[in-house]
Amino acid sequence: MRFKLWLMGVAAVAAAAIVNPAWAQAIKIGGQCDRTGPTRLIGVELCPGIADYIRLVNKKGGVSGHKLEYTEVEAGYAVDRSVEAYERLKRDGAVTTLDYGTPIVYALTPRHMSDKIPAITPGFGRADSIDGRVWPYIFPMAASYWSQAGAAMQYIKDKGGRKGTKIAYLYFDNPAGREGIPVVEAVAEKEGYQLRHFAVPSPGLEMGPQVIDITRRFKADWVVAHLFGRAPSVSIKELRKSGFPLDRVVSFVWGAGEADAKAAGWADAQGYLGMQFASVGRNLPVIQEIIKMHQDEGKAVPEYVGGVYYNRGVLIAAILAEGVRLAIQNHGLPVTGEKVRRGYEAIKNFDLQGFLPPMTVTPEDHEGGGWVKIYQVKGTEWVPVTEWFRGYREEVMGLVDRANKKH
């Protein structure tokens, strides 16, 4: 008799598990990712990274049992299309979005604030949004431009920078490019460096006179480059043609991909330094899992898997998933934008199995620390030359405070 009861109990539980599957309501998230436009060099590798990781998450059972539905929209770095894309994502119920492109972040910030939907802007966007008390719904997670600038200057100091060292800041003549200026200037003033700016109009087609100025008139010792899209490869070629040593060129994160070195020609790009906020290569547990997923599906593993921009896509997707997971864990269903925001702010020691140094987000620090690692072109790949570090954090945070006081 008891055995029968026990059997019925087990059968009931089993039936419940089968009939009520783990796919409860899917959670919608959205992302704008440009495969066209001036940043398409980055997008065609980044966007698959995001998509692949989400697929992996869903294959492993979703976030706390809920499938993640990720909608990718394309806006070609154009503000009007990104507004339409954001409205569409909002209408479809996205609880958090990835905004792509600094001018787009500026344009959409008011909407995120009033709609209470958090946006992540990894490695770009507005650096003053580090302070989450002023910008609660914008998360520049993983090394904003100011942190990158600070880190570049730190590397220069570590490599022998001293009073009188000449630094050339080569940047895009647009809001994204100018983001780095405040930190670079602050550090140069503090350390007594000689700093000069060299602007390159977007999309960075030619930069002959600027490079001639840097190498022949100004005779810079170091170049800190904040270019992206097709411009980094042009800068590599021009600097090399002028005889400037590429191992004295430090690029921000978006000019440091395989695509950039390849476009310049690997042989010509040897020694070029670039900052990364996510580890590079296939030797990481998460990337191995993705490769296995591709193989299980019978698909060839694309060449860019494990590359610089692809891995960043994986990281972005992981952050999105983590925010949703913490939102469900701490605040329960149904998931809303507000809960995801608190989920992001609860991220502690998140490192995606070695992808990045442990990232902790707080309401005061929406960036999660601002850690970068510097890689260098050797042969036909990027190899690390430093450990994870960050530089001039006090200057960066001081600037954040000063910028936000104006609001």
Binding site: Q210, K241, A263
Partner: protein, 294 residues
């Protein structure tokens, strides 16, 4: 002083390359009176074909270049036949807009066929600079300028001495009279587009090597306007001179003015120069003044 010399020399070499693009533009205008806003895109397309063959398919340069030239000639023929011939006689606005539409199509097709990445166009030219006393010159610029100069000289001879060249000049001068003299005007149109395609192809190789090949390469075509306005829309010598002047002026201006205004001078100084020329002498240095009748 060395800085100025550096800027000047490099500017002149870039100017020779502008002249090459402008040559194609002027050819088309001279023969068919069409303003080709898509010249830059033709350069880009030529660059893509060459870079794809060398970088993606691994063909040697000796094979890639003749194939490129053949393709560009065919493309020129096809464009003239398919797009420009139906629009003979339409207004200036229409023709300008058609070439703008053509530019979009070329950009979209190039990106669709060869992908979004920037392709490298490697040439067997050393990448270190050549040091002449105080001046650094890059071998690439020298090679580009030399090739451009060679083509310009070749075309000068072509137009002066060959039968087809003289026929083209005749058509450019007075279409009706040329037809009356028995010249096959349609053939002249086709050939002028083909030659423009050819120069665009060579330009694509050289510019692609300098700047990397992707759809942004088409933007060099925008520089063609200051060049041809300065030199005269229908003058080949003007294209050469205009190119050199624009190249030199923008390089020197950028080098000296940029630090004071925060950059970007290179892109707008040629246009300021152009507006000045337009106010003072609209038909350019060597252009012909057209007389309009009611």
């Amino acid at each position: 002083m060395a800085f100025f010399a550096d800027l000047l020399v490099n500017g002149l070499m870039i100017g020779a390359m502008y002249a090459l693009i402008a040559l194609g533009f002027v050819l088309i205008y001279k023969a068919t009176s069409v303003i080709n806003f898509a010249q830059g895109d033709l350069v880009m397309f030529g660059g893509y074909i060459a870079a794809a063959m060398v970088s993606l398919y691994g063909l040697p340069l000796a094979v890639a270049v003749p194939v490129l030239l053949a393709c560009m000639v065919l493309l020129g023929f096809a464009l003239e036949r398919g797009i420009l011939r139906p629009l003979v006689g339409h207004s200036v606005v229409s023709v300008i807009m058609v070439t703008i539409g053509l530019a979009q199509i070329l950009q979209g097709s190039a990106a669709m066929i060869w992908g979004a990445a920037t392709l490298n166009m490697p040439l067997p030219i050393p990448s270190q600079p050549l040091v002449l006393g105080e001046i650094f010159v890059s071998y690439t610029n020298i090679a580009a300028a030399a090739i451009a100069a060679a083509f310009l000289v070749a075309f000068a001879y072509f137009f002066r001495l060959s039968r087809m060249g003289i026929a083209m000049r005749a058509v450019a001068n007075d279409q009706q009279a040329a037809m009356a003299a028995g010249i096959n005007v349609r053939l002249v149109f086709a050939i002028s587009w083909a030659i423009a395609g050819l120069t665009a192809g060579i330009g694509g190789v050289m510019w692609g090597n300098m700047l990397g090949v992707d759809t942004n390469l088409a933007l060099v075509g925008l520089k063609v306007f200051p060049v041809v306005i300065l030199g005269g829309l229908d003058s080949i010598a003007g294209a050469v001179l205009g190119g050199l002047i624009v190249g030199a002026v923008e390089s020197v201006a950028a080098g000296y003015i940029d630090p004071y205004v925060g950059g970007g001078t290179k892109d707008f100084v040629p246009y300021v120069l152009m507006i000045l020329v337009l106010m003072v002498r609209p038909h350019g240095i060597f252009g012909r003044e057209t007389i309009e009748r009611v």
